[in-house]
Amino acid sequence: MKVPRLILTARPSPAALLCRASSVVSRRFYSSHPPNARLNLPIDYTSTPILAHHAQTALGNPELPDEVRNGPTQRMNLFQAINDALSTALSEDERVMIFGEDVAFGGVFRCTMKLAETFGSDRVFNTPLCEQGIMGFAIGVAAEGMRPVAEIQFADYVYPAFDQLVNEAAKFRYRDGSCGRSVGGLTVRMPCGGVGHGALYHSQSPEALFTHIPGLRVVMPRSPIQAKGLLLSAIRSNDPVVFMEPKILYRAAVEQVPVGPYVLPLSKAEIMRSGKDVTIVSYGQPLYNCWAAIEKAEKDLGITVELIDLRTVYPWDKETVFTSVQKTGRCIVVHESMVNAGIGAEVAASIQEDEKTFIRMEAPVQRVAGWSTHTGLMYERFNMPDVARIYDSIKKAVTEY
């Protein structure tokens, strides 16, 4: 991960940006891989089948509306797809406005590039450096019927806004009762997740903190196509949405993205590959590691693994997960954030609580997640759920039980 400001000053062409993106992982300064590694190889985003490298793959998605499936695509990385979604939202609805720290010049991750110039500084603007203010302001804007998209520069800095999110945004509709007001127009975007060298305060994934709060929807996309469709859904949704963007994918994940506007459903998981022996449930960037681990495990062990992307981590799609686990009898949950009280805990508990699923279980649910520590600068490679750890879990699931 290169610092976005470096990119800004250098002002590279879009082609150069993509070039830089593909080199991000292999040139990471603080993380590399051992010479004889077979599992923990860098993710090759240029070839992973998770991303749509061809227009026809992108347009083959049955969730897309017909007019979009018959339209063109454009190669975009994740930040460009976010930018495209924001631009679409601003042009289709004048109630939409975008604000946060440093968004006016394009944002420190370039997600809001050219939006202020195109849509005016009334609708795309900088706020003072104050997260509780950004969130409170956004709630007020939404309470009067507008559709604000607020940005928190890093998910690590959302905590000052926690009171506003938990006590105000999440409860606004409930406490207003038959007065009928809500802050459903509110979307909060925040970059999250490990980036190789973000250390304590540029690596966090606090999604589990938000999944404990009724009233909020919590979404994390895995790719540019998803980012665009889910973000447009979030903005159009009449519930407040916390939209978490894995920042390591901003420039690394590049794919053909349909040009027309489209939405992808919230609270609906997606089965990315089907299998019959193990179910892996994950979301966001770790899906790439899961995919790599599955390919190795399937070859080595002669099994098939079903991979599910939750997409919305709360309220989450239990039905899709239960149906899959009833078929495979084995489940692994993978996420970056700490294992304690994380999404894995919720998925595992729900599985054992659901009678029909519980009686089909042939192995304990495993959780491959960050350890219950902080993201120390030099230890990230040992902390993230990597390919080796996911591979080992699959192996354990099918060979030890």
Binding site: G133, A142, E168, Y174
Partner: protein, 443 residues
């Protein structure tokens, strides 16, 4: 929050840091003032001197009439008809009498909680009377007078306090957490000061809506809060963002001397709340909060200012005294002398002062006072009894409105609750709720 991220790759050359595009200022040779981008109008001084707040005189407190109801502002001309003044006086009287009734009702265990606004009636009614009905209001919780002035009915007050099926909050909020869509007052929430940055945002929304549709009337937002709440980070957030984004919002601080038991000396050491407004670049005034006319005049002027220059915030600090206990859960004589309170009650209270002004003008009398008090008390008691008799809302309402639509989880949980009530009917009293347990069916 600090952002260290831009410095993470140690090898990054400094010259690659972004240039500042938003300002082309530079320090000219021999200049008499500073041209740093952060403070462009500051003259240089050659004497080393700190600004000592104690050496700056306290901001004055504006008043129109004195404690005897006699006009002291020579330019003061009442801008209301006698009937209008009388109506507003009755609004103040109403909140005061409702307070007495409900405080006792809580003591008898008939409502779970109550907060009176004694001593602060003029701040609420006076300021609210200066707003337009289409202006949007955010309250803290001691603003019954605002609701009353804007037309909240006795039945609406009582429905909320008793959390019955007519309560728009559907029995979800503690007593005194009123809200009204019709009157453009957002529902009150307990966390202090959270409404302040929301008010800034709402004001920005109103400004944008008018810009997008010029046929809309110009509107402002009024946000009420106490001096204790002003210590919260959200107060800082609200004033700063309102100033930088040019939001037409009037911040109205009720400085009543206490935040529960904490006196202002332990709340702040500056010149009250008003002095802070200046620091944020906000037009600010301090008024005598026991003077109805001063509050009204200041708010009228504040509304004009708030709509100038495309919108800007204004701060009003209204000085009052919290005559009552903080709430029904508080005995304030544990931290202040009874005699101090009695002094305020007797010597200067907002209702008495406006009454004296009206009597001086010959439009009010002891007889009218007695009649008004009797009529208001009767009206409150009738509504009280009706509200107390009403059913509580459907139990189902505990699951609704969490999201726009109930999630599968919530529907399943609602059915589980129904099953448990069916299984253990002796353990749950559902009779007082509208529809009993039947509302817990999936619809």
């Amino acid at each position: 929050m600090r952002r260290a991220f831009s410095r993470i790759p140690a090898a990054q050359p400094r010259s690659l840091l972004p240039r500042r595009f938003s300002s082309s200022l530079s320090q000219r040779p021999n200049s008499q003032h500073v041209s740093f981008p952060g403070a462009v109008k500051s003259d240089f001084t050659n004497s080393l001197q700190f600004v000592h707040p104690a050496k700056i005189a306290a901001l004055p407190t504006y008043r129109t009439i004195d404690q005897e109801g006699v006009a002291v502002d020579a330019d003061f001309v009442p801008d209301l008809t006698d009937a209008e003044v009388e109506k507003l006086y009755r609004d103040m009287l109403f909140t005061s009498l409702m307070d007495l009734t409900m405080f006792d009702a809580q003591r008898q265990g008939r409502v779970s909680f109550y907060m009176v606004s004694a001593g602060e009636e003029a701040v609420c009614v006076g300021s609210a009377s200066a707003l337009k009905q289409e202006d949007v209001v955010f309250c803290q919780y001691r603003e019954q007078g605002v609701f009353k002035q804007r037309g909240f009915t006795t039945k609406e007050f009582m429905s909320q306090l008793f959390a019955n099926k007519n309560d728009p909050g559907k029995g979800r909020n503690m007593p005194v957490h009123y809200g009204s869509k019709k009157l453009n007052i957002h529902s009150i929430s307990s966390p202090l000061a959270t409404q302040l940055p929301q008010a800034s945002g709402a004001a920005y929304a109103l400004k944008m809506q008018r810009r997008q549709n010029p046929s809309l009337p110009p509107r402002v937002v009024a946000a009420y809060f106490g001096e204790g709440a002003a210590s919260e980070g959200d107060f800082h957030a609200a004033l700063n963002i309102a100033a930088t984004r040019g939001c037409p919002v009037i911040f109205i601080c009720r400085n009543n001397g206490y935040a529960i038991s904490t006196p202002t000396l332990e709340q702040y050491r500056g010149d009250g709340i008003a002095s802070r407004g200046i620091g944020y670049g906000i037009d600010t005034i301090r008024v005598d909060g026991n003077d109805f006319w001063a509050v009204r005049a200041a708010t009228l002027r504040a509304r004009e200012i708030a709509l100038q220059d495309g919108g800007k915030p204004v701060l009003i600090e209204a000085m009052t005294y919290r005559v009552s206990h903080h709430s029904t859960s508080d005995d304030s004589f544990a931290y202040r002398a009874k005699v101090e309170v009695e002094d305020w009650k007797r010597r200067d209270n907002p209702i008495g002062r406006l009454r004296k002004w009206m009597e001086n003008k010959g439009i009010w009398s002891e007889e009218k006072e007695q009649q008004a008090r009797l009529a208001i008390k009767r009206e409150i008691l009738v509504a009280f009894k009706e509200a107390e008799r009403e059913k509580k809302p459907e139990i189902r309402q505990m699951f609704e409105d969490v999201y726009e639509e109930m999630t599968p989880d919530l529907i399943a949980q609602m059915q589980k609750l129904r099953e448990i009530i069916d299984k253990y009917p002796e353990e749950y009293d559902v009779a007082e709720f509208d529809g009993g347990k039947s509302s817990l069916e999936k619809r």
